[in-house]
């Protein structure tokens, strides 16, 4: 028996109350384990997870001076943390325990072949022993985290998130690019389905933002740069010059009386004008004047061209020398709430928005209704009004396939309001599908029908104008009666959809946030992490993540706030031990690794690579990029994986076939567990190697595995869209291509190396794939030892080129 002086390993084999012992011969496994190098003792127990089982380990560690432990029992997904705690209690590093999954991945799926199952259990234990032998006694690491939050965007999403966090005692920087907060909600008339007045419910919240001592409100400001990571984001913000001193201005409006310039009022969607010196709107926060530098004569020409405002301002607030101001601060978490832009209807030329005066957007109609209610009607929309639904939504012709989710209801709302103010109005809504899914929406829709609003199921094909009367002619099919409608309307309202706001692009790029196919920012998981992003400590709130109404926006904003609190309230947060590290003595600073990390966690300092542990998420895809094997991953080191693979294959006998199933922790490993739980059987000629991501298995490890006796390798990974490492699929494909090339060169069938992306419900797919590869390998026949040996010759040269020989 070989002796290993470095490790004193204890092995514990669990019966799992019969779950394991009814199939696997536990005694035999215990006996086998006891003979392995470094194993000091080998025991069994009916329930290792029970208090008694746990105490057994603690006592043995003390008594026998164990420094590594293997527990052969259920899945580590299930009891992994229990045994880590046990080791901590016993005063060891929690990271020197290894579980051999002999329940989900042995006893259960191989219940019908007990002898083979026992053999496989020994292989699994043997592999675990090898892996634990080279495990590092890492310490639990933590990072400090404070209570500062950057909220970008001051629409209702940003407002809600800031108030929640401010009230909870966190320190908020709320950055809004416009001169006032409020976003789109400030422009709306009333809100469906309750018809509360939008300004009335929003303005108190805006005022709260201003008075909340924990919120630093930075309006008319833009985020220029963000660097760093959770707990340490360094932020640079530029405040644009307002040319009016906010501390002095009382917004009396005297200046507006004398300003000679009129420009379209953006808040009013260009339906009215304001002067070059203006307040954003009646209930703006902050409610102070400012000067539009593009419009002001003084700022455009020379400083003495006008100056009317200076003369009348009693507070001496006007300052034409105002300059942009740079502000820098550090925050711990970030919430992105930069909202949406409405679809630009000029892109949909058939609807004639640019050509016809009486074709307007729904947002313009919102303002017309508000203005009319305030007693300053802009113009009467007339008697017959038509709404065109899905403008810039659900339309491949403009490249937007998604539903904007709010337009059906806001059209219903606008129609109801118009009908309510003048019941004689004749209102039609042209739709394809009427989506009234929310709470109270169906009832609201019915109410509109009760009021006499007519809903026509047909999408408008074309809009024309009667040049004499300026009436608008719509063409559509009433698909329910198959009649073509060609009728005149006084006003046609385009129910424009939502798209990601253009101003978000810069932010997304700066923060390296991912986008989903619809162009909105992508959440980390569509079900369970709907407000997290691919970056730790950065969250999404509101329409920046996808079209939604105000209730959903507010809910999401509060969710984002609570997710941020979850991190910040810990004061320090544990960092996963699975991070990349550098064997400095092997690194020559060649920089090949820099681009391999999608999170930019690797940099070069003093001519050696350095990993930023706060940024690294531990996928391990960088490891393959280093020709000198200087990069490595804690918990899954090259040495550990190599030894694990070696021992896993040690039990293979003459004439037998063995494949390795490299299973990513998030999807494939869990999938294999589910297959076991469902007692779906598959061949015992396979053995699972657990990795954080399939991209951790480097081409060198793959080749080594073939050399050590593998007849096939099967890599399972999450689908890109559900993976915590969306880039990994690509990396794996690249790695595989290289290895297949070498296999081919040595006359080994490249199909022995396979890759499948799984979702965790593909139980049968897993079984078929594993059986499929084993059958394939069996039929392809044994690989000769000479061929195996040749695979690892000149491997650096073959993978990286001449200069790395």
């Amino acid at each position: 028996m070989k002796k290993d002086s470095r490790a004193r390993i204890g092995v514990y084999v669990c019966h799992c109350g019969g779950n394991i012992s009814e199939v696997v011969d536990v005694e035999e496994v215990v006996g086998f384990a006891g003979k392995q190098p470094g194993v000091i003792l080998s025991k069994n127990h009916t329930h290792m997870c029970s208090d008694i089982g746990q105490q057994l380990i603690i006592d043995d560690i003390e008594e026998h001076d164990l420094d590594k432990v293997v527990v052969a029992a259920c899945s580590p997904q299930f009891q992994g943390e229990t045994f880590m705690r046990v080791l901590e209690t016993a005063g060891l590093s929690p990271y020197v325990v290894q579980m051999a999954n002999i329940r989900e991945q042995c006893a259960w799926p191989h219940f019908d072949t007990p002898e083979l199952a026992t053999k496989k259990a020994k292989e699994l234990v043997n592999a675990a022993i090898a892996k634990v032998r080279f495990s590092e006694p890492l310490e639990k690491k933590t990072m400090p985290i404070g209570k500062r939050v950057l909220v970008i965007g001051g629409g209702i999403a940003g407002i809600q998130a800031s108030l929640d966090l401010g009230d909870a005692g966190f320190e908020i920087y709320l950055v809004e690019k416009e001169p006032s907060i409020g976003g789109h909600m400030a422009q709306l008339s009333r809100t469906f389905p309750t018809e509360d007045c939008s300004a009335c419910i929003l303005s108190p919240k805006m005022a709260d933002v201003q008075s909340n001592p924990n919120i630093n409100l930075l309006t008319y400001s833009e985020v220029e740069n963000v660097e760093g990571y959770l707990g340490n984001f360094k932020v640079k913000v530029t405040k644009k010059p307002r040319y009016v001193d906010m501390d002095k201005c009382v917004a009396c409006g005297d200046c507006e009386e004398v300003c000679p310039v009129d420009i379209p009022d953006e808040f009013e969607e260009g339906l009215t004008t304001h002067t070059a010196i203006y307040t954003p709107f009646g209930f703006a926060v902050p409610h102070r004047n400012l000067i539009d530098p593009e419009a002001c004569i003084n700022l455009q020409r020379d400083i003495n061209s006008c100056g009317n405002c200076i003369e009348v301002c009693k507070e001496d607030a006007i300052n034409f020398n105002d300059k942009p101001e740079e502000i820098e601060f550090t925050v711990d978490t970030i919430i992105v709430a930069t909202g949406y832009d409405i679809f630009n209807p000029s892109e949909k030329k058939v609807y004639g928005y640019d050509k016809f005066k009486n074709v307007i957007t729904a947002l313009e109609m919102e303002r017309m209704i508000v203005k009319a209610a305030e007693g300053n009607p802009i113009r009467d929309p007339g008697k017959r009004i038509g709404f065109i639904q899905c403008v810039g939504s659900r339309d491949e012709q403009v490249g937007r396939e998604y539903c904007s989710r709010v337009c059906c209801m806001y059209a219903t709302k606008l129609a109801s309001l118009l009908k309510h103010s003048k019941p004689e109005r004749d209102i039609y809504v042209f739709y394809t599908d009427l989506r009234a899914f929310g709470k109270g929406f169906e009832e609201y829709y019915k109410r509109a029908q009760n009021m006499g609003v007519k809903f026509i199921r047909g999408r408008v094909a074309e809009v024309m104008e009667d040049s004499g009367s300026n009436k608008v002619i719509l063409k559509a099919e009433d698909t329910l009666t198959r009649q073509i409608i060609e009728a005149e309307f006084d006003t046609v309202v385009l129910s424009v959809g939502m798209g990601l706001s253009k101003s978000t692009d810069k932010i997304a790029e700066m923060l390296r946030l991912a986008k989903s196919e619809d162009g909105f920012l992508k959440e980390a998981h569509p079900k369970f992490k709907p407000v997290d992003t691919n970056r730790e400590g950065i969250f999404l709130a509101g329409t920046v993540q996808g079209p939604k109404d105000i209730p959903d926006t507010v809910a999401q904003a509060s969710a984002a706030a609570s997710r941020a609190v979850r991190l910040m309230n810990q004061r320090e947060y544990p960092i996963e031990p699975i991070v990349a590290f550098v064997h400095e003595e092997q690194c020559d600073g060649c920089e090949l690794c820099i681009d391999s990390c999608p999170l930019n966690a690797i940099s070069i300092s003093a001519e050696v690579a350095e990993v930023n542990e706060a940024l690294c998420r531990g996928c391990g895809s960088c490891v393959a990029s280093c020709p000198r094997d200087a990069l490595d991953l804690h918990m899954y080191t090259n040495k550990q994986l190599l030894e694990e693979i070696k021992n896993a294959l040690e039990g293979k006998e003459e004439g037998e076939t063995r494949i390795l199933v490299v299973a990513d922790d998030t999807c494939t490993y869990r999938l294999a567990d589910s297959v076991g739980t469902a007692k779906l059987s598959y061949t015992t000629d396979s053995i699972i190697i657990r990795v954080p991501s399939g991209s951790r298995i480097t081409p060198k490890l793959m080749l080594a595995a073939f050399k050590l006796g593998a007849d096939g390798i099967f890599i399972g990974e999450c689908e890109d869209r559900t993976s915590p490492f969306p880039h990994s699929g690509q990396v794996i494909r690249e790695n595989i291509t290289k290895v297949r090339e070498i296999l081919k060169e040595e006359g080994i069938k490249p199909e022995r190396l396979r890759f499948v992306q799984f979702v965790t419900i593909m139980l049968k797919g897993f079984v078929d794939n594993v059986n499929g590869l084993v059958n394939y390998a069996r039929e392809a026949g044994a690989i000769s030892p000479e061929k195996r040996e040749k695979l690892v010759e000149n491997v650096n040269k073959r993978l990286f080129g001449e200069e790395y020989d």
């Binding site: 030329k349 058939v350 074309e462 024309m464 040049s467």
Partner: protein
């Protein structure tokens, strides 16, 4: 500049006036349209069923001729093929796109025409209007000696210049290329939504009433918007909108006939070219009275 040019059947017969005026106008602009040698009918319509490759053989053979033109030095390393007829343009261009997108189809078609050299997929089918746009409307303006002052012209596009999108020479819903040309010629542009409505196309041989109903809508909409003449680029549209005015008049006695021009005829007039190039004998509605009234012909100003 020498460019290969594809006339198509109708331009040699019923639409000779389109060709004559176009060749003259091109020459004035310094473009030599070199007729494709050994061209054959393009098939007039692009075959829309997925499995029907045989009908793409004819258009592709014409594209092979462009390769030959280059080889024989008739044009100098210029793989553009200029068309005038909108239908030929559409059929050739779409067939070209199909074989470029589906190399398997190209291979089959090449194999089928084993006596020809292979089509390599490097020809670019363009419409004469695109060539004009490339040259620039400024250049057009410079050549105008006989500006259409006060004449109100409605451009008509029909289908084949605009649709489907991948073939269209302009925005399918808001085209402007003819507008810019007519404006450059000094005429007043009359816009109306019917400019992109189909004239009924080949339905004209099956049911002339259906087609003349459509033509009536298209023409009266233009007239109501103030048009005194129509400009277009397709011999089939020309037939349906011009010649079918006979049927329109039979049904609607109050209908006023309106002259229909090929855009190249308008250019020839505007450039003050010899009246022999106008070819009004082939127009159904004689445009001469209108042109005389506007003092655009008969002033002996032809050069």
């Amino acid at each position: 500049m020498k460019v290969s040019y594809y006339p198509g059947c109708t331009l040699k017969t019923k639409a000779r006036n389109f060709e004559t005026s176009a060749l003259a106008v091109a020459e004035k602009l310094g473009i030599e349209l070199i007729e494709l040698s050994r061209w054959n009918c393009c098939g007039t319509v692009f075959s829309l069923t997925d499995d029907d490759l045989i009908h793409h053989v004819a258009p592709i053979r014409n594209l092979i001729r462009v390769q030959e033109m280059n080889k024989n030095g008739l044009v100098e390393n210029d793989h553009r093929l200029v068309t005038l007829c909108s239908m030929c343009y559409n059929t050739l261009k779409r067939a070209n796109i199909r074989v470029k997108e589906k190399p398997d189809d190209l291979k089959k078609i090449n194999d089928f025409m084993y006596l020809e050299e292979d089509y390599k997929g490097n020809v670019e089918v363009i419409h004469f209007l695109e060539l004009i746009k490339d040259i620039g409307f400024e250049k057009i303006k410079e050549n105008v000696t006989n500006p259409f002052k006060g004449l109100k012209i409605a451009p008509y596009y029909g289908c084949m210049l605009l649709r489907p999108k991948e073939v269209g020479i302009d925005d399918p819903e808001e085209p402007v290329i003819q507008e810019e040309l007519i404006f450059a010629l000094g005429a007043e542009v009359i816009d109306n939504p019917y400019k992109k409505v189909c004239c009924g196309s080949y339905q004209t041989i099956r049911d002339k009433q259906v087609v003349s109903n459509l033509a009536y809508d298209i023409l009266t909409h233009a007239q109501n918007a103030g048009a005194e003449a129509i400009s277009l680029s397709c011999p089939l549209c020309a037939f349906n909108l011009d010649s079918r005015q006979k049927e329109i008049k039979e049904k609607h006695s109050d209908f006023t006939r309106i002259p229909v021009f090929y855009f190249t005829q308008l250019m020839a007039i505007g450039f003050g070219l010899n009246e022999d190039y106008y070819g009004f004998d082939l127009n159904y509605v004689n445009p001469e009275p209108l042109l005389k009234e506007k003092n655009l012909i008969g002033r002996n100003n032809a050069k």
